[in-house]
């Protein structure tokens, strides 16, 4: 349904246009106006079925929304809501908050969930512990928390926590996006026990969401750098006419194209419900993270000193890329996971595993 996605992308671009990305700081932690506009247009419920309160549409539509916002450095928790928290809650048969109330996601291995004794039934849990590096902590109204199951029970608990009454620390990532901690002190929440493979799929969704954002941001960084090289004159001609600059831009293009290909393949894996999703997401996250090294470094090199300032747009995306590659599991974590995963068929099964992944 390419035409639907084109329409979605156009709508998001229209909303983004006219506003520069926000420079985030302790006072201005997100772009509330952007969120309101997106919510009013129904874009914070894309890919969520209408019967669950969403706007309908396919995964590909949600991916298109997330990509467009990532390329525009939109400071809103849409990737977390549309690609991770909402589908994970739905898959666990849990109710969703209204799509206009920002919903985020946290992997919280240091939070333990115990079945509640309040008589509300097996769907109620009590969460205790500290969730760290929570995206949009202090901004999001709700958090889907992937917590540790009680001792002796395999798997994890996915619980929907109302964060409105919780205090968040002010930690932020390199781009100023909130990544604070939430202290859960016996917080009651509805939740569901996930089997280990279900929990792994949720973690994979999170890694894939960041990979989708990275792919879009890296494409935009390349486009900005090509444009800048065409406009900036030195020694009487545009930078783009220098062979040294051409080599750098071509190297960036190679990285960006490779990232897009593997991220698309992982999204397709998610679409068809592939049991290999964790390995595909791992490959996407590792490849995207590796590309950030090259693309961000060369983009800044080509832009020169102006790109090193807050006055110029480049930092909105390069700082995000430097953080997104760390979040949801960095290259060290996912490359070990992928390395072990492709050997799951035994020492002679590597090629079979790689070709099965697509």
């Amino acid at each position: 349904m390419a035409s639907d996605q084109d329409l979605v992308v156009e709508t998001v671009r229209d909303i983004l246009s006219g506003a520069e990305p926000l420079l985030l700081d302790a006072e201005r932690r997100w772009d509330e106006r952007l969120w309101t506009a997106l919510a009013e247009a129904g874009l914070t419920g894309v890919g969520v079925p209408e019967e669950a309160g969403g706007s309908g549409g396919e995964l590909a539509d949600a991916v298109a929304v997330v990509r467009t916002l990532a390329a525009g450095a939109g400071a809103v928790p849409v990737a977390e809501q549309l690609l991770v928290a909402a589908p994970a809650l739905l898959a666990a048969d849990l109710d969703l908050p209204a799509p206009d109330e920002p919903l985020t996601f946290a992997v919280a291995d240091a939070v333990t969930a115990k079945p509640s004794d309040d008589g509300d039934g097996p769907g109620r849990w009590t969460l205790s512990g500290t969730a760290t590096d929570v995206p949009w902590a202090g901004v999001a109204r709700h958090v889907a928390v992937l917590a540790a199951a009680p001792a002796g029970i395999e798997g994890s608990v996915l619980a929907l926590v109302d964060a409105s009454g919780l205090e968040a620390t002010s930690a932020a990532n390199l781009a100023g996006e909130p990544r604070g901690s939430l202290v859960l002190d016996g917080v009651a929440a509805s939740g569901a026990l996930l089997r280990p493979e279900q929990a792994a799929a949720v973690r994979a969704r999170y890694a894939l969401a960041r990979s989708v954002q990275l792919a879009a941001a890296l494409e935009q960084v390349l486009a900005w750098t090509v444009q800048y090289a065409g406009e900036r004159q030195q020694f009487g001609r545009p930078l783009a006419k220098f062979q040294a600059i051409q080599m750098e831009l071509a190297e960036m293009a190679g990285e960006v194209t490779a990232v897009t290909a593997i991220v698309d393949a992982a999204v397709q894996g998610l679409e068809r419900g592939s049991s290999e999703l964790p390995l595909l997401a791992a490959a996407a996250k590792v490849r995207a993270g590796a590309a950030v090294e090259v693309v961000a470094r060369l983009a800044h090199q080509v832009h020169g000193a102006i790109g090193f300032t807050q006055e110029y747009r480049l930092h909105h995306l390069t700082r995000r890329c430097w953080s997104w590659r760390d979040e949801a599991g960095n290259e060290a974590t996912w490359s070990r996971f992928l390395g072990a995963g492709v050997l799951a068929d035994g020492p002679d099964g590597l090629w079979g595993a790689l070709t099965r992944l697509g």
């Binding site: 293009a253 290909a261 393949a265 050997l343």
Partner: protein
């Protein structure tokens, strides 16, 4: 950014390709069990085995996409992709037929006369006729338009060729070369004019083939010297003077396949066995990083195969994939040796040490052959609208 030249639609899954993949795997397992071949790195350069090539021809795995009337099998580029990829991953001896199947055949199909096609294509598809590329010369590498090998018409209308070609892989095992020659004097105003391609039988009098050994001592490269060689007049390939255009199209075939990122795969396979045995986290992480890069390259290469099936000629995307892919091939050596304490040696008792040695000694070639990565990046830069 004019990214259209660089972006390719995702490849649809091909059941036919997966089916033939299974058949090739079974064939390779049986051949390996029978001792027909042992796995080596970079076998599309070094693994010459005409008997093996004939077996592939018998199974219909050469000339796969060509019309049946010329001995082909009218299968898709995606199916051909699966076959070539399996052969490369296994490190099977495919060098004898590789050039003929990959680029000389398609070149003949596009530009050859009916007689040339009927005579030669069925033999290539049978695995009985091997080709060399006659492009580079001692004084002409990346600057291909500067070649000096000349062909002039004699009184009978035949071509008299003199000059020398270098780096001609496996000329000493091959039957024909497609040789780029200057058929009109060089015109400084149009350097690409006056070039033509000739189809040259390598057994003609006046041709001498002299070995050039590469770093591991292997004899794959040659210098091919043409000393007033008389080539029949009907062996012109395509149009006189259109050589530059034809050679550019030929290079697109040369640049788009899985051999541009799988040349060192047998080293990865050996390293994977080591990581499985040790369980060492650093080795697993390296294997994961290499796997992520390889999986991305596979997606890109599959997209190119799918684009070929749609009848497109994705020259710029192919240049980009070759740049990224061959860089990866060389990086594999560095990545692996950082996390294993195994000296690279062709005499190593450890198969990993031997694979490292083969991959290292072949490494300088990956980012040179078929167009240096600097040339490729120039093509990509054009695709980005920079030149």
């Amino acid at each position: 950014m004019s990214s259209d030249a660089l972006t390719l639609a995702p490849a649809p899954r091909s059941e036919a390709a997966e089916q033939v993949r299974v058949e090739v795997r079974e064939f390779l397992a049986a051949e390996r069990a029978a001792g027909t071949f042992t796995t080596h790195v970079d076998t599309w350069l070094s693994g010459v085995d005409p008997a093996f090539s004939r077996k592939l021809g018998e199974r219909g795995w050469l000339g796969m996409t060509w019309p049946k009337e010329y001995g082909g099998h009218e299968r898709t580029a995606m199916e051909r992709y699966a076959v070539t990829e399996e052969l490369l991953a296994a490190g099977a001896p495919v060098a004898a037929h590789w050039i003929a199947d990959r680029q000389s055949g398609p070149n003949l199909l596009r530009y050859g006369t009916e007689a040339q096609r009927r005579e030669i294509l069925p033999k290539i598809a049978a695995g009985e006729c091997f080709f060399v590329i006659g492009m580079s010369e001692p004084d002409s590498g990346s600057d291909l338009a500067s070649i000096r090998t000349r062909a002039t018409r004699d009184a009978n209308g035949d071509w008299v060729v003199s000059g020398a070609k270098v780096w001609t892989s496996n000329a000493h095992h091959s039957h024909y070369g497609i040789v780029l020659v200057r058929t009109s004097p060089a015109d400084p105003a149009n350097r690409h004019a006056g070039l033509s391609q000739l189809l040259v039988d390598l057994s003609l009098p006046g041709i001498s083939i002299n070995p050039i050994r590469i770093l591991d001592g292997g004899h794959h490269f040659n210098e091919v010297v043409f000393d007033d060689v008389v080539v029949p007049g009907d062996m012109l390939l395509g149009e006189e003077g259109a050589g530059w255009h034809q050679v550019t199209a030929e290079l697109a075939f040369e640049r788009s396949g899985p051999e541009r990122f799988l040349s060192t795969y047998p080293l990865i396979a050996e390293f994977g066995r080591r990581a499985a045995a040790t369980g060492d986290p650093a080795q697993l992480a390296t294997l994961g990083r290499l796997s992520a890069r390889l999986l991305a390259l596979r997606q890109l290469s599959l997209r190119i195969a799918a684009a070929l099936d749609r009848g497109e000629l994705p020259n710029i995307a192919a240049a980009l994939v070759k740049d990224v892919g061959t860089t990866f091939e060389a990086d594999v050596v560095d990545e692996v040796r950082r996390v294993v304490d195994v000296p690279a040696s062709l005499d190593s008792p450890d198969p990993l040490g031997r694979a490292l040695a083969e991959a290292q000694l072949h490494a300088p070639g990956y980012t040179l052959r078929g167009g240096t990565n600097e040339i490729l990046r120039g093509i990509v830069a054009r695709g980005l609208g920079l030149r």
